[in-house]
Assembly symmetry: C2
Homo-oligomer: 341 residues x 2
């Protein structure tokens, strides 16, 4: 563990985040200029107009397009699952991956409806990460590799990325990450997940508190928090978000776990998430709190709490609509429509 060469990998990622590209201000200005000429009262498309300008700035082109979106689902298993924190057995992670491959999960139907490309990434499902109550989830090497693995999900040609996960016990991990990054009480961040309540929920909260207490004194920077309290799919999501920034691909975050992975980057530099939008706010209570912390206003609020990028994928429909209105609408001059009297 933590040999110099491997530590260097995380060091490279730390260096990367110090040199992230910013928005393309010319493309953003071009979007604002065109928006003002389109056949509607100024501002009448609300957040669709904001999204069009945001897409232009982060795709670095005008007009922006959302024609080849991709949904990525990273799946991981967690040592802490053995502590009875989930309503489902850990075997469900691999079973659900098989369901994704067979086309039977919610995210498959959503990708089909919205015409998004779905990629599912199994991450050593036979080898859960370390139990975070006893020690770090991952070595530096494992964490760096998982980050790099997530980066590979961003390939040329995709123009928006919905980032989600599958992993029994991972709302426990997300709660631990949030408690580690932001502090507060375990109860602030720990909710029902797939549906635990009563004594099981009380146990889950104790597990989250114990995990953070175990690492508190040794925790370093946010990447070290990720390594200690996170998991493979969290590191991969963070990697995908970073790679999307480098590749000029706007990102749609999914639920609590997706936002927790993003929060690691936000804790390093809040600007690291400027190319990300929150696809939805889930019914998991910690998610709303977390979105406030990372300064994201969700596009959808439909009481979803499934993970597997379901909310983010549904929100891709809003991005598509925003880009289509911006690119396809006629201007007042083109349509011969009178402007304000």
């Amino acid at each position: 563990m933590a040999e110099p060469a491997l530590a260097a990998d995380l060091a490279e990622i730390r260096a990367l985040i110090a040199h992230l590209p910013g928005p393309d201000l010319d493309a953003g200005s071009a979007a604002a200029e065109r928006e003002a000429q389109l056949t509607k009262p100024a501002g009448a498309l609300g957040r669709l107009e904001e999204l069009a300008a945001w897409l232009a700035a982060w795709q670095a082109r005008h007009p922006p397009r959302v024609e080849h979106p991709r949904t990525v689902v990273f799946a991981g298993n967690h040592g802490v699952a053995a502590r009875g924190v989930s309503a489902y057995p850990a075997a469900v992670t691999v079973q659900m991956v098989q369901n994704f491959i067979a086309g039977g999960a919610a995210v498959n139907q959503l990708c089909r409806t919205i015409d998004a490309d779905l990629r599912v990434y199994e991450m050593n499902l036979d080898t859960p990460t370390g139990d975070i109550v006893d020690g770090p989830a991952m070595s530096e090497e494992e964490c760096a590799r998982a980050l790099a693995y997530g980066m590979m999900a961003v390939e040329p040609g995709i123009d928006a990325l919905a980032v989600g996960e599958m992993g029994i016990a991972n709302t426990t991990v997300a709660a631990a990450l949030c408690l580690g990054l932001f502090g507060g009480e375990a109860a602030d961040w720990t909710g029902p997940g797939t549906g635990v309540s009563g004594e099981a929920l009380a146990n889950k909260r104790q597990v989250v508190a114990a995990a953070v207490a175990r690492h508190r004194a040794e925790m370093g920077d946010p990447f070290d928090v990720l390594r200690r309290l996170g998991g493979l799919e969290f590191a991969a999501m963070a990697g995908a978000i970073l790679a999307a920034r480098m590749g000029r691909v706007p990102v749609v975050l999914d639920g609590f776990c997706s936002a927790a992975a993003a929060a690691v980057l936000h804790a390093v530099d809040p600007r690291a998430l400027d190319h990300c939008v929150a696809g939805h706010v889930s019914a998991e209570p910690g998610h709303r709190r977390l979105l406030e912390r990372i300064g994201k206003r969700p596009l959808l609020d439909l009481g979803m709490r499934l993970g597997e990028a379901s909310g983010a994928t549904l929100a891709l429909a809003i991005l598509k609509a925003a880009a289509a209105c911006h690119a396809g609408m006629a201007t007042f001059a083109e349509a011969g429509v009178s402007e304000r009297s």
Copy 2:
């Protein structure tokens, strides 16, 4: 005006609303039964699950489908526009209809993105309705004809209907309808519309108050309120909503004007809107208040305020997603996924 034969037309519509079909409870039960078996924690798709059951009950079939949605836009002109209540000249109504026909409006791009069929209905744009400050907007005959005209928008084969409008000055009319139906102050219901503010907004509020004061003593049932304070596109939207109920087509309401037309039916019988969902809540302040009055929780809240069925059409994407998840997901048994431990 108001000859016996023509009054009978409105009487027929009054009779119709007394015998509206209810939900198909068998289809609703079948949806609930299937939902419980799908590969996700119970309730994890939130409102998508509610929508699937609602679609089944009002389409009277299981599984429900949203494969052939239609967006309808009724366009009308208003005598009250001459009172300077809009930021735009009345000529914009017909210009925007031309823009719809040419494919250049926001709703065209949204229908293309979401794969909805768009129909635009011009309603005597050369002949605005009566100025509601001076007298009734429509005769009984005109109102009944406009209702019947709207009914024709519901044809066999469509499986969801987004209902919207275009008409310069029609947020003034919607505000008058709401004040007539629900009472309160003119300021409760009167907002910026396409973008009036300051003195122009104060004038708009006075116009709304004056219109309702002019008719208050003579107003009869909600259809009479519609005839006096409404307009052709409002009557047509109410007709389309009624015909959709008869034809087993779930309806997505759009913004303030669309909800005001629906509110006429709600005032007759609150159950008359059980087959309707609010596609979004707009930035027009009266809309949120109105949705509370008619008991509808919006699917989207994106600060839109364009009308032309734009919010309702965007919400069709949510209905499509709900139907697709419900119909296409594997059950726990089919996928070999373990249930709760």
